[in-house]
């Protein structure tokens, strides 16, 4: 019986994360259209309707999917058949599994069972997320190479170059967070962010590592290959790795972008925005720094934590979308200059500064 319960709980954890990521990615299509429209004094797509119900354009992602599924699945004659078909799946798979080790709540105690609210408990969670995000570029390179199209090949190479630039900056900027919280386990990092600095300031990553936050988000946007770092695709003029794709395979590349945006939002929430922490909320309720207390049941606390995580992810996605619809695209050389001469040295500087501060803090 307990094996069945364990399996059920494991399945439930994975299902929650999978549902969260997939549904968020689907809704992001609507969010992207509507947010950009409102930012630009427009209304945005609102014509798709089911029985006359328009629901503010919420059916457009559905209509998009139907369109993608029913379109011709074209494969060029010069393409490598296997890799060409495999590439979008590789691309979307690694983006989907990357969310697995991001915690969305504290350990939940039901009876004598302790359930950590994350899909997979890994003590090297950060490395796992980065490994999966880096593997995602293989799908893109595969797509570029197997299309049998020189423009696609060049796009794939631009994607590979951008990915290396971004991954180095991401890894180096997160080093500071790992040094401050002393763990590679994302659950431990999220829990450590619940401590208070000077008794009132939540010790979130954005407080202790503000420079790393900016560097991480910048490099993270580059890793998702979206505007302003979208020159691997450059759909409007320089065309990229997905130029030969059509139908649902093209749709899967779009979905990869959306899922990666969600993962980036979840990752920056877990590392810099306190993860599932609510300020001053401990396991048994609120303990405010001015001394008052508000005790809550464990289930309420867990719901508050999950709600806090989801809200932070939503805010982060809003910011990412805001950036995507505000900035123009970097040229290839500009992005390389920014990555190698801007983000990377600043990340190293951040590591050195963090080390010095930690040393001074410990010596005091």
């Amino acid at each position: 019986m307990s094996v069945v319960a364990d399996l059920g709980i494991a399945f439930g954890r994975v299902a929650f994360v999978m549902m969260f990521v997939l549904n968020t990615a689907a809704i992001l299509g609507w969010v992207e259209r509507k947010q950009s429209a409102i930012m630009q004094d427009r209304i945005g797509a609102n014509r798709a309707s089911i029985f006359g119900i328009r629901a503010m354009g919420l059916f457009h992602p559905l209509a998009d999917t139907l369109k993608m599924l029913t379109k011709e699945d074209f494969r060029p004659a010069g393409a490598d058949k296997t890799l060409f078909s495999l590439a979008p799946f590789v691309s979307v798979l690694f983006a989907l599994v990357a969310f697995a080790s991001i915690p969305f709540g504290d350990v939940l105690h039901i009876g004598d069972r302790a359930i950590p609210l994350q899909a997979v408990t890994l003590n090297v969670g950060i490395l796992y997320v980065f490994a999966m995000l880096s593997l995602g570029v293989y799908g893109v390179m595969m797509a570029g190479w197997s299309s049998g199209n020189n423009f696609a090949l060049l796009g794939g190479q631009r994607a590979a170059a951008l990915m290396i630039t971004a991954e180095i900056a991401i890894g180096a900027s997160v080093m500071g967070v790992i040094m401050v919280y002393g763990s590679l386990n994302m659950m431990d990092i999220a829990r450590a962010q619940g401590q208070l600095l000077w008794g009132w300031l939540p010790k979130w990553g954005i407080v202790t590592q503000p420079l790393a936050f900016i560097l991480f988000v910048t490099a993270g946007i580059a890793a998702t290959k979206r505007i302003p770092f979208d020159f691997p695709e450059g759909e409007s003029e320089i065309i990229g790795y997905n130029v030969e794709y059509s139908g649902m395979k093209f749709g899967m590349f779009l979905m990869t972008d959306m899922v990666e945006t969600t993962v980036l939002a979840g990752l920056s929430t877990a590392l810099f925005l306190g993860g599932w922490q609510v300020p001053y909320l401990l396991a048994d309720g609120f303990h405010f720094p001015w001394g008052s207390e508000l005790l809550l049941s464990p289930l309420t606390v867990t719901l508050l934590q999950v709600g806090s995580f989801v809200t932070k992810v939503a805010v982060m996605i809003f910011i990412l979308m805001l950036i995507r619809w505000t900035l123009p695209r970097f040229r290839y050389d500009q992005a390389m200059r920014l990555g190698w001469l801007g983000l990377f040295p600043l990340s190293i500087l951040n590591i050195v500064l963090t080390g010095a501060v930690l040393l001074a803090w410990g010596a005091r």
């Binding site: 947010q35 409102i38 004094d41 427009r42 209304i43 900035l327 920014l338």
Partner: protein
């Protein structure tokens, strides 16, 4: 590297933040207007969009729209087939065949008066040139279309059947349907 870029601009961050502030300002201002609109404040508009088929831009009364042939009181065309419009037309889209008018006081009348709207450039010279005020471009009709070029040729009967636009600028007659032709 342009020389006019100072250190703050080279560092991107400040400029990026000011740009994000601008777009975020638009977002929240428009979002507030949208919410006010849906709560019943109908004059609060968060977007400049005109929802076209249901909602139309106001048209200037001088706007040149689909032509019509002005009728006499007995319903016959006021046109006397003087060929002025056909002559002045820069697109050469007007084709007139003249005929005797039964009334001896009127010299001629058009037997055929075709306008090829696929060629017409809507310059309004035909209206200017007409000595009889027999052709006008005030129907308010903009959305005529066809599946082939020959159906874009509007005949005398179609042009005679049109009414001028109402005072609100909206068309009062339906868009004429070209007779079915064997292409």
């Amino acid at each position: 590297m342009g020389g006019a870029v100072n250190l703050g601009q080279r560092f991107y961050l400040r400029e990026v933040l000011s740009g994000l502030g601008l777009t975020a300002g638009h977002f929240f201002r428009n979002l507030g207007k949208h919410i006010a609109h849906s709560l019943g404040k109908k004059d609060s508009r968060g977007a400049v969009t005109i929802q076209y088929p249901e909602e139309r831009r106001p048209q200037s009364p001088r706007l040149r729209t689909l032509h019509r042939l002005v009728r006499r009181e007995d319903g016959s065309p006021r046109c006397v087939a003087c060929m002025m419009c056909e002559t002045v037309c820069p697109a050469r889209c007007i084709y007139i065949v003249a005929d005797e008018h039964p009334n001896p006081e009127i010299e001629k009348m058009p037997q055929r008066f075709d306008i090829d709207l696929g060629k017409c450039v809507f310059c309004g010279y035909c209206v200017e040139a007409c000595p009889e005020d027999a052709i006008r471009m005030d129907t308010g009709i903009l959305e005529f279309s066809a599946y082939d070029r020959r159906s874009m040729i509007y005949t005398k009967e179609m042009l005679l059947s049109l009414e001028p636009a109402g005072v609100d600028g909206r068309p009062r007659s339906p868009i004429p349907i070209p007779p079915r032709r064997n292409v």
